[in-house]
């Protein structure tokens, strides 16, 4: 009984310690949010929300981030499928390549994309011939966000597909199902949660993207100015009210979206 009592005390002490550290962390996050909320009055927020700069930035961010989510799904799913289920030479190299945009500084990614799609770049020259200009346009935002954010989707879905028991795929094959039928009826439904999680992470990353986007698309107000770029520009040019309002909108929007997504996953 003595030992048991000792154990219980130790457990309590451990729990208190853990809770204290976790509490510190939560306090830190809440403090950041409170700072944002108290910087802007409701009246100012309402006024800013009606300004054309803010409306345009919000709209561009939503538009491009949703497009990036769709593009990530279209291009990312085959990549995730390939990396999860197929064995081939050079697979570890490709897996590392997919991880690279996550660890690369966004400014470096932006610079590489700027050179690649610029007037003298390999793809830039080719696209210019077809009359397509990427740099300092909304297409540039898409390219930058796709490059930086889609690996989050690919990694999540690749792990989910790889975790599907191989016997399920084998059973499907012996039952006469073609690889496409197996993909539609087994792989897709069983990786549904991971797809949603991956898309949400991609969306959140795209929405918050700044460095690469600024390098490739520039900061042209009401044309290529996303919310994050508008916040930066506002803060740098002394328009703290606009920056704070946009920051608050971004945070509230992200928080609500994540909450909705999580409750959807639980259901």
């Amino acid at each position: 009984m003595r030992v048991l009592h000792l154990k219980t005390s130790q457990t309590k002490l451990f729990d208190i310690g853990i809770s204290f550290i976790a509490g510190l962390f939560f306090t830190f996050i809440v403090l950041v949010l409170i700072t944002l909320m108290t910087t802007t009055s409701l009246h100012e927020l309402y006024r800013q929300m009606r300004s054309s700069v803010v409306i345009s930035a919000v709209w561009i961010s939503i538009e491009t981030s949703i497009a990036v989510v769709l593009l990530s799904f279209i291009f990312g799913f085959p990549v995730a499928y390939l990396l999860a289920l197929k064995q081939f030479k050079g697979k570890p190299f490709l897996e590392t390549l997919i991880d690279l945009p996550i660890v690369m500084p966004p400014l470096v990614s932006g610079l590489a994309l700027l050179i690649l799609f610029g007037g003298t770049g390999l793809l830039g020259k080719l696209l210019n011939k077809w009359g397509l200009n990427i740099i300092f346009t909304k297409k540039g935002i898409l390219i930058a966000q796709l490059f930086v954010a889609s690996p989050f989707f690919i990694k999540t879905v690749r792990e989910a597909i790889a975790s599907i028991p191989q016997n399920l795929l084998a059973a499907s094959a012996t039952l006469g199902a073609s690889p496409f039928y197996t993909f539609r009826k087994v792989i897709l439904p069983l990786s549904k949660s991971a797809i949603w999680a991956g898309l949400t992470m991609t969306w959140a990353r795209a929405l918050g993207e700044f460095g690469a986007t600024a390098m490739v698309a520039g900061c042209i107000p009401q044309q290529t100015e996303t919310m994050t770029i508008a916040i930066y520009m506002g803060a740098m040019s002394g328009e703290l009210a606009t920056a704070s309002a946009l920051a608050l909108i971004l945070v509230v929007f992200s928080f609500v979206s994540l909450l909705v997504f999580k409750s959807g996953l639980k259901r």
Partner: protein, 379 residues
């Protein structure tokens, strides 16, 4: 459908899992492949199903070479050890999966699914999801799913190993019944001898990537042909020695490291002074308080273990340890340290001469005998 596996060889890295394995399985046969874990039984099934490619060898199904045929086109039902049911589909949808993949229309589909669900006794559970079922029920669904595609061959990979003991017996009986009713050629892989005894028309013993012996269970379990088979099936009385005297109908066999000499029915392999290994099946030994049969030796009971309706008795005969499996009622007067006669007739011990396949009775001679005969003819 008849199956012929011809010299199947499979490597995993540098490890040879299957080594020129050859096996013929007749149409409608319930064939059990028995062997210890890790001997390549599941690999063999995967190769037959087309899920793995052999490094060498051919797979013939009804005379058709199917090596290059993908699993989708082999029409082979596969029941996996871990059930491999689709967790997001109901029982009905799981059983319907193969038919839907083949484009069977809805009205026909429903009828067929109900037929197979009835066959495995799960019609009531059609709307349940796999996680809501017991192990036995899951395996029944897997069986119905495999049968629903009307397979020309059914493969079962240790289907009872993840099922509670109390459900195994019923499922075993049902499995045999269903196989007999459908007549589908079946290959069943297991490491459980009881399953092989109860289910098989013929049993193959797989060892070191090769088939060690193929025979109907009643012959295989009482007439093991190699030391490995004898040990694996529990016929653990293996006697090393030599033929000390040849008579017309029997021989005298001197057991190595013992002063015992036993009388053994004359087998063609026997030659005077020849070193031989004999198997003395524990179930064919009689323990008696009086001497019986041609061979009877007085020994001391060292241990008794009760195994349900039988008992395993270890007897020490002047240093030679013999195991006997006898009906429990026969040992009521036997206790530890009791003296008891170990009795067996001369046709009970048989040589372990490594013969693999059972030939028709008129050709039943072991390889060594044939070689010897051939040599003598040549001389």
């Amino acid at each position: 459908m008849s199956i012929f596996l011809e010299d199947i060889t499979k490597y995993f890295g540098s490890q040879k899992v299957l080594d020129k394995l050859s096996l013929k399985i007749k149409k409608g046969e319930f064939h059990v492949i028995l062997g210890p874990s890790g001997e390549g039984k599941s690999t063999l099934l995967s190769i037959i199903a087309g899920l793995l490619k052999p490094d060498k060898g051919n797979i013939w199904i009804d005379g058709q070479l199917v090596n290059e045929l993908p699993p989708q086109k082999r029409q082979i039902g596969f029941v996996f050890q871990d059930f491999a049911l689709f967790p997001h589909l109901t029982v009905f949808e799981n059983v319907a999966y193969g038919l839907k993949a083949r484009g069977v229309k809805n009205n026909k589909l429903k009828e067929r699914i109900c037929f197979y669900l009835n066959m495995v006794g799960l019609d009531m559970y059609r709307d349940k999801y796999p996680p809501e079922l017991s192990g036995g029920q899951k395996q029944r669904v897997a069986l119905a799913r495999a049968l629903a595609i009307n397979p020309r061959l059914l493969l079962l990979d240790e289907p009872l190993s993840h099922i509670d003991a109390w459900q195994q017996e019923k499922l075993r009986e049902d499995l045999k019944q269903i196989q007999q009713n459908t007549g589908v050629t079946t290959i069943y892989v297991t490491h459980d001898q009881l399953e092989a005894r109860v289910l098989a028309d013929r049993v193959s013993i797989l060892h070191q990537g090769r088939i060690e012996q193929v025979e109907p269970p009643e012959e295989l379990f009482y007439q093991p042909k190699t030391g490995f088979v004898a040990n694996f099936i529990g016929a653990t009385n293996i006697l090393d020695g030599y033929v000390s005297k040849m008579n017309d109908n029997n021989v005298k066999f001197k057991i190595k490291d013992s002063d015992l000499t036993i009388t053994v029915k004359k087998y063609p392999i026997f030659q005077d002074k020849r070193q031989i290994r004999l198997c003395l099946h524990p179930e064919k030994i009689i323990l008696s308080l009086r001497p019986e049969k041609e061979n009877h030796f007085l020994g001391v009971v060292e241990d008794i273990k009760l195994l349900g309706i039988t008992a395993r008795v270890n007897v020490n005969i002047r240093g030679l340890k013999i195991k006997a499996i006898v009906p429990r009622k026969h040992i009521s007067s036997i206790t530890r340290q009791t003296s008891v006669w170990v009795c067996f007739s001369s046709d009970v011990p048989h040589p372990l001469c490594g013969r693999c396949h059972r030939l028709p009775p008129h050709l039943r001679r072991c390889n060594q005998c044939r070689e010897n005969k051939q040599k003598s003819v040549e001389l």
